[in-house]
Symmetry: none
Amino acid sequence: MQFDDKVPIYYQIKNYLYHEMLTGQLTPGAKLPAIRQLAVDLTVNVNTVQRALGEMITAGIVTSKRGKGNFVTTDTARLAQLKEQLTMEQLERAYEQLHALNLTDDEIIAGLKQYIAQRGQQHD
Amino acid sequence: MQFDDKVPIYYQIKNYLYHEMLTGQLTPGAKLPAIRQLAVDLTVNVNTVQRALGEMITAGIVTSKRGKGNFVTTDTARLAQLKEQLTMEQLERAYEQLHALNLTDDEIIAGLKQYIAQRGQQHD
Amino acid sequence: MQFDDKVPIYYQIKNYLYHEMLTGQLTPGAKLPAIRQLAVDLTVNVNTVQRALGEMITAGIVTSKRGKGNFVTTDTARLAQLKEQLTMEQLERAYEQLHALNLTDDEIIAGLKQYIAQRGQQHD
Amino acid sequence: MQFDDKVPIYYQIKNYLYHEMLTGQLTPGAKLPAIRQLAVDLTVNVNTVQRALGEMITAGIVTSKRGKGNFVTTDTARLAQLKEQLTMEQLERAYEQLHALNLTDDEIIAGLKQYIAQRGQQHD
DNA sequence: GTGGTCTAGACCACA
DNA sequence: GTGGTCTAGACCACA
């Protein structure tokens, strides 16, 4: 995995794991990979993974069972709420950034459509 | 100005100044505010502003004239290119993040439209 | 049984068993539940129970008879002393903690009375 | 400072600092000692102090200012709430522990009064 | 095997 | 000077 050096790594790991949950790679109740395994896979220190996990535990998305591992919450309402929240955050940030570049609302939507169309061509 | 504490401040200042240029607050050839003034306005240390400026100079967007101050480049093609580049970066990142949240292309566009509509209501 | 995850589980098990003895669930000379049974009841690993028992044996509160099991000491003076000691420890800690929160002696007593009164209402 | 080795050190540091705030050693808006200084004073690693601080920041009791230090919140309502919460937690735990030792409500109150009286003699 | 805590030490961003 | 992040490595509690 590639990390953006402008943002803390633990923060990116947290987002990465959230994405895994929201896209069904990690289903509710599923066991997360062992912390040490994640550290190896992401070529990152164990403590860094732990910090990401710690925040997810505090947020109620992950529960830790002593000696057994970390597990995705089975509270699907909580997961749905997380998805909603992350989506809104992304939309808000993207909109504000593009708006700041002096694009009108219509230009922003048009730009996005165009981007997706182009991308489609490249990836097909 | 509000700073996101997950991203280096100098980096956010750079973006802020780019935006000023692209939205016409700072026209080609215009003199940038004095570094010390910027530091005061942004309630930030002088060193931090200096770092942001340094990167803009390296990128050829700002030229520094000894004893006179810093100026926006008069190379309008360079500015247009910058806008294009920043726009694409934003679109790409937004798309990838939302895609990672398991939204389809259509859902992303619909979500953005909806976000803009909602926002319009709030701000009108 | 609920465990406080800030304190070692073996330590909490030890306290739990002491309480059983002091409240008469486990009388002097009584046989303790089998280690494996305790582990199941407390949903805890056998090793963890064993560790708690080990410390109680060292403290002279429990005696182990090979092949027969573990038994509460018949030394009632020892048990009385244990109760006295645990009570004082609790009082001391509670007092110090509340004192550290800037409560006066009178406020501490008043607070405790109030807490008990409230609790009585809830549980009646 | 003496640490109880049954509870995480960062946890005890957090409580220690909370107490400092509630007893007026650290007033609202006051600057906390530098992290490195705290680490030296408490003969503990910098990271351990930072972990305690991190939780206080998340809880909204402390705010961090880049390059300047950490400060007690000026939100006195938040501080009052914290005191209330910590007091209740202490009372609840003390009560339950003593209750578990087979003391009646009256015995608990009497025991506390007696403890305070004894203590008064010792300390006068 | 699995997570939790802590240390020593380094490097960076910011004032 | 002051805080934030990360690493390497150790030791412990628990299953």
